[in-house]
């Protein structure tokens, strides 16, 4: 839209003017209709969805007001609005949680300065390490200085016919040995101390990042791949670690060495010093040019590397599917492709990189040549002694090799900077389910009343929940029914506060759940999922997961109530048996009952059963159902079930479709209405009959 001139249009609003909102494939449309015609239509990206919805609602209110007293209503928008996406900011939040996207700028070396936050606790050790670096570098600079008197006072006079003075030689050689020993001790101390500190900084970085990652909302995890996150926490922190303990230390030593050498050279002979230091700016310029090329390259390598890890992380957990569909070849190919991509990117980078080191070496040789030439000329004119020239050449040898190793720091810094950026991407990410600034305390006795008012939720560019109202009384069991994709699971995720609603509120006992501390709130919720997840550990540990201090008696009581006690006792090590990854195999029903015991043990006020029985056969379902009956008693329960028969015990059924509640009532009422529920029920009956027939046929075949 051209910015120069605002293109205002004015409509006379008919009495039934309305703004209709719809979206498809990421594009929203806002239609102004009234008097039986469409007056105008606007398209917008879904980032503006919330604003458009508010505008539509505002018009609606305004029209309602106008028809009452004929005057338009002015409605002030309360609260702050995000300058980017126009979404209302939550109270106390500084950054908009909806548009806070990851920063896509290339990593700057300055990112590394952010690491200081982790270095602060060790500043004393760092200071000591720096002092040691200074001292050890100075010690290494003594030997070349000694070559000067050795040449001028011992060797040259000898050539001119004077005998060698053994005491003088002993003195200088002793000095050389002493300096070497001192440099050795100091070098050892500085490397040890700094390595120790950097290892600790790396460990702190890893722990902090992981802790922060755990506090992020499910939305964050939903949008990212496991392999990438694992790589970030594992490899990147390690890379930063190595950078700090090795490369940065070397670099600091090099810089000190160059500075000190320069000072020494100038004090010996300023003219020759200038000539010697001449190639320095060239090398500096070269480093700068290559730096830019390498920066983006290394970031690309990181991404490609994450891609390689992702292939593994995708395939290994899904290996059954891979094998079942005989796709080993394809998965192998996918890995090979990712690997080849890795190679390509590396090759491109290495082309620049490989040119770099030899060029520096060439400059070194040229530099030496110049010093030789100019030095000989100076000696010929008696401006300097042979000893001075020898000392210069000895210094320069070290000096330029330092420059060469210094040039290597470029790539390491870039790698570490891109690693630091990827780490800080996680660390700087504000949870989209933020902890409240001033949390409201829950009463000691939570009744478990849940109120959902005008809730709306968008998943990516798709509105999943729209304007939903629901009231659940304490102790009531409701069944959520609907086709898959009707928003049942999303509603449950919103109630658990795995996500926050985009619009509206969800309240527990009359308190907005966003005002409660997340841990306090979640402690009130017991969750039983379709695919129960067991952690690696003993059965007892798994049951006590939500309450690590539970006594053994409590664990047994919970397992009994969950009808898990007997099968657990049948296992060779009883409650001490290992389960989970690499552990003893358990059937789906057994896992489910362990997860029910887990939920029972924390004695939650609210219970959420998300398809808890749909992954098991009918016989097992009965067992689980018995366990669930114990669990449901006296608790506010929200059950999602695909099989309507499992919701017989529900006090009320809530039928959802496309993100809204379409029907409410008990089974008989809903059947009498002959609406959405009735259709679902009929469809399932028919399917069950058909399945029964097939199953019966199979059974007969087996018998025969």
């Amino acid at each position: 839209m051209p910015k120069a001139k605002k293109n205002w249009q004015i409509w006379e609003l008919p009495h039934d003017a309305r703004l209709l909102l719809s979206d498809h494939a990421g594009v929203g449309s806002l239609e102004l209709v009234g008097g039986g015609v469409r007056l105008a239509v606007w398209r917008f990206t879904l980032g503006l969805q919330a604003s458009a919805a508010r505008m539509a609602a505002q018009l609606e209110r305004q029209m309602a007001q106008r028809s009452a007293d004929g005057r338009p209503m002015q409605m002030a928008l309360g609260g702050a609005v995000c300058p980017v996406c126009q979404a209302p900011l939550e109270e106390g939040a500084e950054e908009c949680t909806r548009c806070g996207r990851e920063d896509l700028t290339p990593p700057s070396t300055w990112t590394l300065l952010k690491l200081w936050r982790f270095g602060r606790p060790y500043r004393n050790q760092l200071l000591l390490g720096f002092a040691l670096t200074l001292a050890s570098t100075a010690a290494t600079l003594v030997p070349p200085y000694m070559t000067m008197p050795l040449m001028d006072e011992v060797l040259i006079p000898y050539q001119n016919g004077k005998p060698i003075d053994p005491s003088l030689v002993a003195l200088y050689l002793g000095g050389l040995l002493g300096a070497a020993l001192l440099a050795w001790v100091l070098g050892w101390a500085k490397t040890y101390i700094l390595a120790l500190v950097s290892e600790r900084i790396g460990a702190d970085l890893r722990t902090t990042t992981y802790r922060h990652l755990l506090s992020l909302s499910l939305e964050y995890f939903g949008g990212r791949r496991t392999g990438d996150l694992i790589a970030r926490i594992g490899n990147e922190t390690d890379r930063i670690n190595i950078f700090l303990s090795l490369h940065l230390l070397d670099f600091a030593t090099d810089v000190l060495m160059i500075l000190m050498t320069a000072v020494i050279l100038f004090t010996i002979n300023p003219t020759l010093a200038v000539i010697t230091l001449l190639p320095l700016p060239f090398i500096g310029w070269l480093i700068h040019v290559v730096r830019d090329r390498l920066r983006t390259g290394f970031e690309k390598i990181d991404r490609v590397w994450a891609e390689v890890t992702n292939v593994l992380a995708d395939t290994i957990p899904g290996i059954r599917v891979v094998k079942a569909f005989a796709q080993e070849e394809r998965e192998g190919q996918r890995f090979a492709d990712a690997n080849r991509h890795n190679l390509n990117v590396n090759d491109r980078l290495n082309r620049v990189w490989s040119l770099f080191a030899p060029t520096v070496a060439l400059m070194t040789e040229i530099g030496l040549l110049v010093v030789w030439g100019f030095g000989i000329w100076l000696v010929a004119h008696d401006s300097i002694t042979v000893g001075v020239l020898t000392a210069f050449l000895a210094y320069i040898g070290r000096f330029y090799t330092r420059l060469d190793s210094m040039s290597r720091i470029v790539s390491h810094t870039q790698k570490a900077a891109s690693g630091a950026k990827r780490i800080f991407d996680i660390l700087d990410h504000v949870s989209s389910v933020p902890e409240p600034a001033q949390p409201v305390a829950l009463p000691a006795r939570v009744t478990g009343r849940i109120t959902v008012r005008e809730a709306g939720f968008r998943y990516g560019n798709r509105a999943v929940i729209r304007n939903l109202d629901l009231e659940i009384a304490p102790g009531e069991m409701i069944g959520l029914v609907g086709h898959s994709g009707s928003g049942k699971s999303t509603l449950v995720n919103l109630i658990c506060r795995f996500y926050d609603v985009s619009e509206g509120v969800i309240e527990l006992d009359g308190v907005d759940i966003r005002q409660l501390r997340i841990a306090d709130f979640r402690r009130q919720i017991g969750l039983v999922l379709q695919e129960p997840f067991l952690f690696f550990g003993t059965i007892a540990d798994n049951i006590a997961y939500g309450k690590p201090d539970a006594t053994r008696e409590e664990i047994i009581a919970a397992a009994r109530a969950a009808h898990a006690h007997e099968f657990i006792l049948r296992m060779p090590q009883g409650y001490d048996s290992l389960v989970g990854e690499r552990g003893q195999g358990l059937s789906g029903g057994e896992r489910q009952r362990i997860s029910i015991a887990r939920a029972l043990l924390i004695n939650p006020r609210i219970l959420i059963l998300d398809e808890a029985t749909s992954a098991v056969d009918t016989e097992t379902e009965k067992e689980i159902q018995k366990a669930l009956d114990n669990l449901v008693r006296g608790r506010t329960t929200i059950a999602i079930a695909h099989r309507l028969s499992t919701l017989r015990k529900a006090d009320r059924l809530v039928v959802m479709d496309k993100g809204v509640v379409v029907e409410e009532g008990n089974h008989d009422q809903l059947m009498a209405q002959e609406g959405a529920y009735w259709r679902l029920y009929q469809a399932q009956q028919r399917q069950a009959e058909a399945e029964g027939a097939v199953l019966g046929g199979l059974l007969e075949e087996v018998k025969a």
Partner: protein, 153 residues
């Protein structure tokens, strides 16, 4: 009539409950054989259903307690490794010769992943046949054993 545990002529355990019902072929199991052997003992019938439960084994009246212990000991086999005498190689698969509380044993360890950490310090070593050995506290082993074990952890 009080409940009673006895051995039938075939050597199987028979549980007669308080109402005089006889259950043949019962097994006595511990809930926490490793972490709390004295806590929680159950009697299960042949189908795996629980018949009786004792919260603490050491508080069960005699002679029932002795019988329960006998039955448990008969069923459970979880030798505790006291010393690693020798390992055939430091890379798996490897044959281990160990001194356990049930005598000397030699078994094959298939891979490092068969040494698992149970709650706390306790380690469980599963051999290639599925027999499990317990190492209650690796740090309490003698130096030679610790050195050998360390190569696999």
């Amino acid at each position: 009539m009080s409940a009673q545990l006895e051995r039938n002529p075939l050597g199987r355990w028979v549980w007669t409950d308080a109402r005089g019902m006889r259950h043949e072929q019962v097994v006595v199991v511990r809930a926490y054989p490793v972490t709390a052997p004295e806590q929680g003992v159950g009697i299960m019938d042949a189908e795996g259903h629980e018949l009786a439960w004792f919260d603490r084994l050491d508080q069960v009246a005699q002679p029932l307690q002795a019988l329960l212990r006998e039955a448990v000991a008969e069923r459970e086999f979880l030798p505790e490794i006291q010393r690693l005498l020798d390992v055939s190689s430091l890379v798996t698969p490897s044959f281990w010769t160990v001194q356990t509380d049930r005598g000397q044993a030699r078994f094959m360890l298939k891979g490092e992943e068969d040494i698992r950490r149970l709650t706390g310090k306790t380690l469980i070593v599963s051999d290639v046949d599925g027999v499990q050995y317990l190492i209650r506290d690796p740090l309490a082993l003698d130096k030679h054993s610790r050195k050998l074990l360390d190569r696999f952890m």
